[in-house]
Symmetry: C2
Subunit: 337 residues, 2 copies
Amino acid sequence: MSTNPLETSANSVNPVERLAALVGSDIEAVDAVIHSRMVSETPLIPALAAHLVDSGGKRLRPLITLAAAHQYGYRGVEHLKLAAAVEFIHTATLLHDDVVDESNLRRGRPTANTVWGNKPSILVGDFLFSRAFQLMVEAGSSPVLAVLANASAIIAEGEVMQLRSAKNLAIGEGDYLKVISAKTAALFAAAAEAGAMIAGAEEAHSRAFYEYGRNLGIAFQLVDDTLDYSGRQAVMGKSVGDDFRECKVTLPVILTLARASEEERRFWRKTIEVGVQEEGDLSRAIEYLERGGALGETIGRARTYARAARDALSLCAESDIKAALAEIADFAVERAY
Amino acid sequence: MSTNPLETSANSVNPVERLAALVGSDIEAVDAVIHSRMVSETPLIPALAAHLVDSGGKRLRPLITLAAAHQYGYRGVEHLKLAAAVEFIHTATLLHDDVVDESNLRRGRPTANTVWGNKPSILVGDFLFSRAFQLMVEAGSSPVLAVLANASAIIAEGEVMQLRSAKNLAIGEGDYLKVISAKTAALFAAAAEAGAMIAGAEEAHSRAFYEYGRNLGIAFQLVDDTLDYSGRQAVMGKSVGDDFRECKVTLPVILTLARASEEERRFWRKTIEVGVQEEGDLSRAIEYLERGGALGETIGRARTYARAARDALSLCAESDIKAALAEIADFAVERAY
């Protein structure tokens, strides 16, 4: 499973693209909903929103919503609104994240806060978040609305938690998993669950999709954590070493600290806790993480979550959609190589 | 109508307090809902939220929701959730506003961004906003949910509009009224309408409450605009001259510019457009606004909106609640004296 998925998958297409093909014109329909709801009399709003919405994100979360609805034979159009709402929540979160993290680069382009400043990024984030709720209300299902509203609160809680864990080397693996379950995995979980629910799936099946999304989200985040130290900027669309520069304590750091020498420990305290980083420190951090095996171990954890995502769908009927979803779980991990 | 309402009102109590008394224990019940929903495993969230929620705000918006529900004989408990949601939306907006405006003082205390920094203020704002939606979903009325979700989007749009109008002396009265209709009046309007709707009021009556809230909100904002140049800090709980220092173009400035001498015009360009403010400039701004009558004219406009708020309720049955709501409209303006 450690080879390139482009060579090993049953089909030679990336599984995300294959899933997109399986939901037919739905992805374009969601894009149309997204663009129609970015419209505002205030031109800054669509301009700033488009910067992110049209920046080549893979629309993975809304795609999962659509796929879940298809898996249960949904024939309506409300799933398009839910998928658009999910993407709006994601976009709003990214806008606020980039302000909070003072990030300069996302998906290979300058962040909205770099181009327009923090203030419009905060307020357009609020606008997109409100638009998400309008779409969810229009979709007309209270239980689904509750799922997505709850996810939003959990995401915000996770973001605050993460803020408190920055520069804090005392954070353990359990704490960290709690943070990413909230800030990253909750939206994947809700996106998947919402799609199954709107299609009238039985509770056990909606729950299965929830578990799929949750585990997939954690796997994705853990691989992102390793890519931040090992990835190439061209592949990632963001700078290598962002987490390090922002003094974020991610799982690779937590795992390497658990058995670090006194010298290494001093290094992490200086660079992450105190926040003093000099020329060469990022290379040294990467060396410690690679030599000690922490990057590989983090990928190992990610693989476990990816397997759990796959397993969660075992009660669902076999279908091309199910197969593609399962492969996406593998793909989440294979990106690391 | 220009004397102190404490002397002239039928009853010697401030009309906001009288309205609070008329809804009985509902205000305490809403406070209990608010506090129960601020709870989080992450202690920073309730701490930061409490800083604003318990800072002596008058809970005017949720009070109007409760009053509207009472006016139509509502006997349920969902209005408590809606009122709490309205206060959460308001609080989230204030948190983000203070970050965007870089404000240091609110209700006589240091702002949350001053105490905890911008990052937690942004994220706890997002959390409270999500909590508002959870409460609205729980209240279980889709039409009411739509009203509040739409208001949220309009508020955010108004905030972005306002951002674009800062330092811009070309803004006209019409543009400005559009901004405050969105950023301030939309929540008052939705708060009032939601209360009537949850109680099953006929559409014409819900609409009347919407109009009441909208006009009241505009009146409040216009009086706030004058207080920013004339108020005493102890009364306002914020610093005199905040709008001036933040280079905000508010109605008093717009009105005074319309007939300013070339010298005055140069002054406003320097202080607001260029943003160069020196010792004595605030006093000079106040002098221009007072001498030219712009503050009085702004209050005149506010009085017109307050009257429209009163008139909007004319189709409603006479009641102590209706009388108190009407007096609050007058009170919104009398605060200016």
